[in-house]
């Protein structure tokens, strides 16, 4: 617990965390308000087909698509900035047990990101429903599927922070880690378009962005994983990267 306390001090006393969280909140909440307001003002002219398949949850949380990158930066920098600055040697001199160090960092990252993410997504959803009310059909957290979709949005963002944190352990460089994170989220899906449609149908559902889409929607799109299966797949990704990172971290010279 003492190491976790130390890591918590380190986590909150650098500007990158503060700025990252601010951008994360601003994008999710700000874009959420903008998107829901635009939907409200154009609802009357929206084709009936779209109106019927409308998902109030994923629409109000549309800002998270951009907030993902802020979350990735927070996670990656939490470890990579120690390498970039050389501070990792000071850290390891104080905590020579490397597994203990990574577990403490993970603990701090998981707890802080889940709290921030859940507060942000729940408030964004509630504000979105306020904006919709009277014009666009709304939903409430009392509905089990809605509650699951909103809460899993926060879980999705937290898992992405862990995903980029693991990349940071493996790559030891801030810019490299963030680049790889962005590539895996954005560029890999684009590569899919070079393959035949039948292949895309099989592989698209494994892309992190589509996993997130399933987790934060009330209705599951055809070809995508069901919400909890998507959650499980993403957890496997993160666990794999963390185990790989932890193994490398223990063996490497600092």
């Amino acid at each position: 617990m003492s190491v976790a306390k130390s890591e918590w001090i380190k986590f909150r006393t650098v500007r990158s965390t503060i700025v990252g969280v601010f951008i994360f909140v601003f994008l999710t909440l700000g874009l959420g308000v903008l998107i829901t307001w635009l939907i409200r003002s154009h609802w009357a002219t929206m084709p009936i087909g779209q109106q019927l398949t409308f998902d109030p949850v994923s629409s109000s949380l549309g800002g998270t698509v951009f907030a993902e990158f802020a979350v990735g930066v927070i996670g990656a920098l939490f470890i990579s900035s120690e390498y970039t600055s050389g501070a990792i040697r000071t850290t390891l001199a104080a905590v020579p047990n490397r597994v203990r160090l990574i577990l403490a960092k993970l603990f701090v990252l998981v707890v802080s990101m889940i709290i921030i993410s859940e507060i942000v997504v729940v408030s964004t959803f509630l504000i979105g429903m306020r904006i919709f009310s009277g014009v666009v059909p709304t939903d409430s957290l009392g509905n089990g599927a809605v509650l699951r979709a909103v809460l899993l949005s926060g879980v999705y963002l937290t898992l992405l922070a862990l995903f980029s944190f693991a990349l940071g352990i493996i790559l030891r460089q801030s810019i490299a880690s963030i680049s790889v994170f962005v590539s895996l989220l954005l560029i890999v899906p684009l590569l899919g378009f070079f393959f035949p449609q039948s292949w895309q149908n099989h592989f698209q559902k494994f892309e992190p962005i589509n996993l997130g889409g399933s987790m934060m929607s009330v209705t599951t799109k055809p070809l995508n994983f069901a919400p909890w299966s998507a959650f499980a797949v993403l957890v496997i990704y993160v666990a794999f990267l963390l185990v790989l990172g932890m193994t490398m971290f223990s063996r490497r010279d600092a």
């Binding site: 003492s2 190491v3 306390k5 130390s6 890591e7 001090i9 380190k10 006393t13 650098v14 500007r15 990158s16 900035s81 120690e82 600055s85 050389g86 501070a87 990792i88 040697r89 000071t90 390891l92 001199a93 104080a94 905590v95 020579p96 047990n97 063996r251 010279d253 600092a254």
Partner: protein, 307 residues
């Protein structure tokens, strides 16, 4: 006590540390002397568990660093003063370090005060001069009030006043019965700072002893001025002595005594103008010991001087 036990560290093809074996005892300042690239920093990194040894091990009071539960309470180290996050304030940096080893928070302000950077405690470390960073590093090393202290090239970046301060500081730490291990590539600095000196070159142990021991065992040189330096030079070489031309008319002769040189000059009819035996300085000893063990030596300059 710090023990380095047949330590070898290899990075790929480079043998950075080669079977180093020595003890560092409490109560004295022990200097760790060697040219740049001789493996001093590598040895320190292995002692601190940052790098894994290829063979052998290093222990603190019999325990490997990796197995220490709260290492800052037993070992304080300053390896690289700039190894801190530039965006964090000095106080927060030390608070995080203290928390990791369950050290009381009040201790942070104590050590900040002690090294004289209390006034900039809430400033970001990125804006610190090298001297201020060194002081912050020393504050971090003292945080857990450890019995063993390691400093890698601590005088780098310090002004003369800071160098004087740190010298007295090492002395007082040793007088309190602590183990103080200080690396440097500057023999003149070690001569005044350390009681005991361990000399390494190219990763290998060369010698160990007090400053007096090291200089006493070394051969002194003789400063000679004569009417015919060229002639004397060839005579000395025939007697297996070494000659170095210091200035236009001065020769520094090694491996021969002043008696032998005087006799030889008299025999050859050369007028001796000056004949002064010189005791070896630690610097001379160091040069002699590490000759051939210098990773990036000034070979060209040496060659030119001999012509």
């Amino acid at each position: 006590m710090l023990k380095v036990d047949h330590l070898t560290k290899r990075y790929g093809d480079t043998l950075a540390v080669d079977d180093l074996h020595f003890d560092v005892n409490p109560g004295v300042v022990t200097g760790f002397l060697g040219p740049n690239g001789s493996g001093k920093s590598t040895t320190m990194r292995v002692i601190l568990g940052l790098d894994h040894p290829t063979k052998g091990r290093a222990t603190i009071n019999g325990v490997a660093y990796h197995d220490l539960k709260e290492p800052l309470r037993e070992v304080g180290a300053l390896l690289d003063a700039k190894a801190v996050h530039p965006g964090r304030t000095a106080r927060n940096h030390l608070r995080a370090l203290a928390a990791s080893n369950k050290i009381k928070r009040s201790r942070v302000d104590d050590v900040l005060e002690f090294v004289g950077i209390s006034s900039v405690a809430n400033k970001k470390v990125g804006g610190f001069s090298l001297g201020m960073s060194q002081r912050l590093g020393i504050a971090g090393a003292l945080l857990g009030d450890p019995g063993v202290l390691l400093f890698d090239e601590p005088v780098n970046g310090l002004d003369p006043e800071g160098i004087r301060w740190i010298r007295d500081f090492f002395r007082s730490l040793a007088n309190e019965g602590r183990t103080v291990f200080v690396s440097s590539h500057l023999m003149s600095e070690m001569a005044v700072t350390a009681d005991q000196i361990i000399v390494i070159g190219r990763g290998k142990f060369i010698t160990q002893g007090s400053v007096d021991d090291l200089t006493a065992n070394a051969n002194g040189t003789v400063l000679v001025r004569t009417s015919d330096n060229a002639k004397l030079t060839s005579i000395i070489k025939s007697l297996n002595g070494t000659v170095r031309q210091e200035h236009d008319d001065e020769l520094t002769v090694g491996l021969l005594t002043s008696d032998e040189i005087g006799q030889a000059a008299f025999g050859a009819g050369i007028t001796v103008l000056e004949l002064t035996p010189q005791r070896a300085s630690l610097e001379d000893v160091f040069m002699e010991l590490t000759a051939g063990a210098v990773e990036f030596g000034g070979g060209q300059i040496e060659a030119m001087r001999h012509e």
